[in-house]
Amino acid sequence: MADVVTVALTGLNARPENPAPGMAVARCLAETTGRSVRLIGLGYESLEPGLYRRDLFDSTYLLPYPTTGGGAFRERLLAIHAAEHIDVLIPCLDAELPVCIALAGSLAKSGISTFLPTREQFTFRAKDRLVGAATEAGIATPRTCRVSDPAFFHSCMNHGWHYPLVVKGSIYEATVAYTIQQAVAAFNTIAGRWGHPILVQSHIVGDECNLCTIGDGQGGLIGPVMMKKRGLTDKGKAWAGVCIEDDVLLEAAQRLIAHLKWRGPCEIEGIRSANGNFHLLEINPRFPAWVYFTHGVGRNLPAALVEVAQGRPPPNFPRPAVGALFIRYAEEVVLPMHDFESIVTTGSLPKHEEALEWMA
């Protein structure tokens, strides 16, 4: 009998300026060699295009937002599991990770494997605690402070801050502010969208570089891939990038992962300043939206994650194809109204054969 693994994953929105990673993870898994992968797509909104990609997913379902509480999320997930027999779950969004981490034990008892950080690891890399984690690992970070009152931006120059500076949400979004007015506006927008705390960071001039990997939970890295952004969207996300090989970035990542004993996928974002020093900006606790590029350069990290989640050894990766580039583009999914109706009314898309019967 063929070795088939059923993988459920989230993050199916694919907004061109700031896509979630789910579609890229799905494409990596669909192109996995050696094992047959059955994909189940999990979304939160009826307009997430991945919900309608029958060419990628065997079935797709809507989930309740994790903010509604772990109980409803778990109940829905187990109902989907009863229908689909999920082997591995890959959460792809920051906001759902606390719930998934809390449920990992009970999901495992139900037969659903995950490969996630512990709650402590997850909390330790949070944006408002990152400076402490980085300092302990001996990695430089930009000066950072929490701000709860926009009056800060009028007086911060008296305390050693200089414009431009970076205004960041604790979960998503960051804006470079060049004036007091821009900083106050960014503060209000980000706080309104994502809540408090708001963080302020000094702006480091240099080249942003990123590393995607899987922490093995023992302090080691599985298949690191480094990428330098070559083109940005309006939200500062990569729409073009090139594979690089930077020993300074790699060494920083090794020290961080070893210090945190990180378990699971992650993206390390940093800046190489003009003098060559590395400054850590963020550790994202999941695959980045550019993760398809890891497969493109010879290191299919989502496929490796499925292996380690099931207790198998990770593959022996070749050296990545340094110099390879990616350029992202957006495309439309065209769907019949009854597919949309099915998602809206039942929270799931019928399997392909059922849809064909319906259409007949």
Binding site: D207, V242, R272
Partner: protein, 93 residues
């Protein structure tokens, strides 16, 4: 350019050798830095300078070698070497 000229008198390219050695240069003059991810195109003279710079640090001696290779005056060649070095610096190499 002024600083480059000063460096020339010091007899050193003032560009780290490891940076020059890591640059990947193809036949058409496309240059890629695998560490910074930056790329640019150069002409035959630039290709020749990069090749020579892997073993020779003195810009004037590089210019001398180019004179032996191409039909060009030494003063013009020195200026081209220094200009090329200054462009590399501006690109952050």
């Amino acid at each position: 350019m002024e600083r480059a000229l000063d460096d020339a008198y010091k007899g050193d390219l003032q560009l780290p050798l490891d940076v020059i050695k890591r640059l990947a240069v193809n036949d058409s003059g496309f240059v890629f830095d695998p560490v910074s991810g930056k790329s640019f195109s150069t002409n035959e003279t630039g290709k020749a300078i990069l090749k020579l710079a892997c073993t020779e640090r003195d810009p004037r001696r590089i210019a001398g070698m180019l004179v032996a290779q191409f039909d060009v005056e030494l003063s013009l060649c020195e200026r081209e070497v220094l200009e090329f070095v200054s462009v590399l610096r501006r690109l952050g190499h």
